[in-house]
Amino acid sequence: MIALPSADLKRLVDAARKGDRAALDDLVRVTYGGTYTLAYRLTGNEDDARDVVQDTYLRAYRGLRRFRGDAQFTTWLYRITVNCSANLLAKRARTRTEALSEDEPVVDIRPDSDPEQRMAGEDERARVVRALGVLPWRLRQVIVLRDIYDLPHASIATELGISEAAAKVRLHRARRRLRELLAADFGGGFGDSEESRDARAS
């Protein structure tokens, strides 16, 4: 995202609200990078990120007159992005015939399960990014919003349309899953997921 002083951003927003097309285009240009990055982090792939971003800006355009300006424009835009990505991924999950459940085991990305990858010597950051990418989208969403974008639990709950308690539970689950995926790279872990414990107890 191009860094722009908030006063300049506000001027652009005001002009765009009054129907200034050039101001609207500039507003898109200065916020595009940030919106795309968030969409990519939430969806985990380029095609979906492109769809989400386009949908986000169309919705923002249609709702611009209703934007009251009491929140930061970028915050408002990011909320729409989260919403659009949730809608897209939920719709996709409903229409997928193989219906990958959150409870199903995710792909094993540990380097020791893939000697070639280990040889390639990916650095830690790349492994974290890959692990994030293979998390089920509902779990990835909370990690992105909390651990990358530092949103408070209450805001995450609002954005996802769930209770704060449910958002916290989902975050715990997401962090556990991420930690399991990275066990080989970041040392041991407890090597015993909640799911496997549940399975053993039953």
């Binding site: 795309y36 971003v53 974290v128 530092d150 962090r175 930690r179 040392g187 407890f190």
Partner: protein, 133 residues
């Protein structure tokens, strides 16, 4: 007195119960379960987990400052989509104005015709009234 095996088993159980707290401690969150936090404070295995999770968090937080380059042409596609949406909105808005004018015209014409009808009826009734008077 507890045997070594039992101590290890209990400790492992406490470690598992503290697993969510470990991430919270690493993330420096406020609402940490105090019992689990007390366990983590005296358990080297859990402290190693906190350190590992801190490393993961460091990478996640660093992503906040890193942008992902959008694919070439995607910005242009969004601007074009907005252009189309704006044009559609203008057409919709013009259509609405035309419809409003059309409906307004019909309403005015109907009202005028009604008023004219009433006036004709009134003018025709007057002689009759005069006859009865």
């Amino acid at each position: 007195m507890r045997g070594l095996a039992e101590i290890v088993r209990l400790r492992t159980g406490e470690c598992r119960e503290a697993v969510d707290t470990i991430a919270q401690i690493a993330a420096e969150e406020d609402d940490v379960d105090q019992k689990a936090a007390a366990h983590v404070a005296q358990c080297l295995r859990c402290q190693a987990e906190v350190a590992a999770y801190r490393r993961i968090l460091r990478h996640l937080r660093a992503m906040r400052r890193e942008g992902i380059a959008p694919p070439v042409g995607s910005l242009a596609a969004v601007l074009a989509a907005l252009e189309t949406a704006a044009a559609e909105q203008n057409v919709a808005s013009n259509t609405w104005v035309i419809r409003a004018a059309y409906v307004g015209g019909i309403t005015v014409a109907t009202a005028a015709a009604g008023a004219a009808g009433v006036m004709v009826w009134m003018s025709r009734r007057r002689p009759g009234l005069a006859d009865t008077g």
